[in-house]
Structure formats: C-alpha cells, structure tokens
Assembly symmetry: C2
C-alpha cells in the first residue's frame, strides 16, 4: 500500500507535513502504507511560508497510490487551474481507497470533479466560497464522505489523518500512531471566539464548552 | 527580529515544521519575527521520515538570531556530537532572547551546555536518559526556564511555539496566530493511557480527566 502526498509551488507547509508525520508514524510503528511525495517536477519548490522542499516522484512515475493527500494554501487557487495536476488527481482517484484534502486543497478536489454530491469542508476563510461553488459544507474539523476526506485549515489535517488511520487500520493503530507522535495537544485557547470573525461551527462549540 | 530554525540530516519533520508554521503565521498576521532555516550546508537533506528539504542559510551567513529552535529525531544523538553545530548554537545562545528545543533536540542543547541548572523536557522515550544526564526533567508538554524552552516529542513543539508567541508578544498575538493556523485540535484519545508504557506525567493527567 502506498500513500502519496502532493506538493505544488506555494503549498502550505503544515497542511502537508502534519499529515505526513502522522502517516509516516503509522507506517513505522503500525504497519501503515509507504509514504511518498509527488509533484509535477522534482525541482525544489518554495512552500507558502518559504520552506524549501522537493518531491521524490512526478506525475509520470508516481505509480499506483492507495491514498492521496492534497494540501492547500493560497496557491491552491492557482493550482486548481493546472490541468496536469487535475488529470493526475483524477487518475489516482479512480483506484484510491481515499483521497484527502487539507485547507483550501478542497478546491483542488472540486476542480478535479471529486466533490459532486459529496459533503466536505475547508479553511474557515473560504467556507462561503466553497458553499457558493455548490458544495454541501459541513463545518467540522474534518469530514469524511465515502472515499473523500477533507479538513479545515492548516493544522486540521493532523486530526483528519489520525482519524484516517483509525478508519483504515483500527483504533489500536491510531493510538500507537498518536503516542509515537506524542499528539496530545494542550487544547488551550488564547482568546475568545467572539473576536474570531468567521469561526466555523466546530470552533464555536468549543466556546460553549469553556 | 529573526527566528532561526535549525536543520540537520535526519531531523524529525514535524519537530521543526510544526513550530515553523506557527512562527510564520505569527510573522504574517501578528508582526512576529522573520523566520529563516539554517543548517551546516545548503545541500538538500533527508528528514527522519524521508522528506527532502534544504536550508536557506548556513552557520557562516545566518546572521544574528533572536530566537533559535532545535528539532529532534533519532539523529539528534549523532548531531549532538557535531562540533560545528554545537559551536553555532552556543554562539546564538549568547545573544538570543530564547533558545527552544523539540523532542530529542533537548540533547543537542545539553551538549551545547545550555541546560546547566535548567529545568527541561524531551520526548517521553528518552526522559530517563535526560534525567540520567543530570538534567532536572519536568514531565510537562513543554517547559520554559528563563530563556530555554523545551518540549516533548514531535507535535509538542506546536504547543510550545504558541506559548512562546503569547510570552513574547501577548495573548492577542497568540490568539491571532492560533486561529490563522486553525490550531483547535480535536483532543481525541484513540486508546487508553494504561497501554502506553512510559507515558509522561502530563499525559497521565489526561487519563484522570477522561
């Protein structure tokens, strides 16, 4: 089994590398799939915040992928127009057990035609934009609808990927992955939800539980 | 102000890139310091789980850093013997407002002589090893002792960096950073703490609150 992580110029660092760390912990400690990075080219590319990374596979030689994760970032709105990227994602999706998006990566799945009749989510800043595009948006930290998984912004992909591990390999595999990544977040809120214009529904629930 | 993020062959991806994302959000949305990657060489290097990254600055041209973050990974136990890395960290530490370590990166700070009389923490797997080295270990998700910050394994650096933002720039800056990164983790535990041999004290407290 193989898990592909898409890179494109300007992808948001943590969108991809949070899930990457969870999936590679799954691989290492709980027999998860091999994890590979894929991009249109192997040339080094800058992420949204300037980190320099490079992929190991291209669209031509990536081979069969059982899982594919598509990160977001402002650049996702450009990348969704890249016909080669869209063709690659479409081809993967025909056989993959799951296709996942983080943040505005959901718009790339939209452009690939993978969201027809599918419930999904995205970064809170562009939830209305996704709704306007005709998608049924569920304002949760992550959403699974059949083989399509999508998450909120940036760090939400970590929670989604851990849920994927539990779904595909069971709670024990997810628990092993969780403590190997020491993913026991503090859960501290540094401010009030009332000051966050556009907070998604799952975040507004946190406030009620304070 | 400038915030340096150390890279070395085999550093653990999320140890560095979790804090990087938080700090670059701080920079972008709340006037935080410029963030730069630093390594012994600009050559691309493999991380612990195989991601290919490259630094923008070397020890020679990094310039003055107000903050320095040192990631961990199994390779930290090799890197702590690298005299050039140790000399670089020591030189930074004389002027920096804060030096931070994630995971086994704490052992690199130890080798640089920064933990004398300092309370610190590290990845749960090597807490005993840090204690045996004479360090006063505090089993929290992250620990600040003066200018030295240290955190537990892998994902714990995210919480630590957000706490750094609050400490250096106030709760409002931390809150803006938090919601820009949508860092509102689900907080779900996929298993029982009783099955986790070596769980640190802060994790065992989570169990009591279940």
């Amino acid at each position: 089994m193989r898990f592909g992580f898409l890179m494109y110029p300007g992808y948001e660092e943590l969108d991809m590398i949070g899930p990457w760390e969870i999936a590679t912990m799954w691989k290492t400690y709980a027999a998860g799939p091999e994890c590979v990075t894929v991009a249109q080219s192997r040339d080094p590319m800058r992420c949204a915040k300037g980190l320099l990374t490079a992929a190991d596979y291209t669209y031509e030689d990536a081979g069969k992928l059982d899982y594919l994760l598509v990160p977001g970032g402002f650049a996702a709105f450009e990348e969704m127009k890249n016909e080669q990227t869209i063709a690659f994602i479409r081809a993967c999706a025909t056989e993959a057990k799951a296709v996942l998006s983080v943040c505005s990566g959901t718009f790339i799945l939209l452009a690939a035609g993978l969201l027809e009749g599918v419930e999904a989510t995205t970064n809170w800043k562009v939830i209305d934009k996704l709704r306007e595009a005709g998608v049924t948006v569920i304002e949760e930290r992550y959403v699974r609808d059949g083989r399509i998984w999508s998450s909120g912004g940036v760090s939400a992909g970590i929670d989604m990927t851990l849920a994927l591990v539990a779904h595909e390999a069971g709670a024990e595999a997810a628990w092993i992955t969780q403590y190997q990544a020491e993913y026991l977040p503090e859960g501290k809120l540094y401010g009030s939800l009332t000051t966050w214009q556009g907070a998604p529904a799952y975040a507004r629930r946190l406030r009620q539980e304070d």
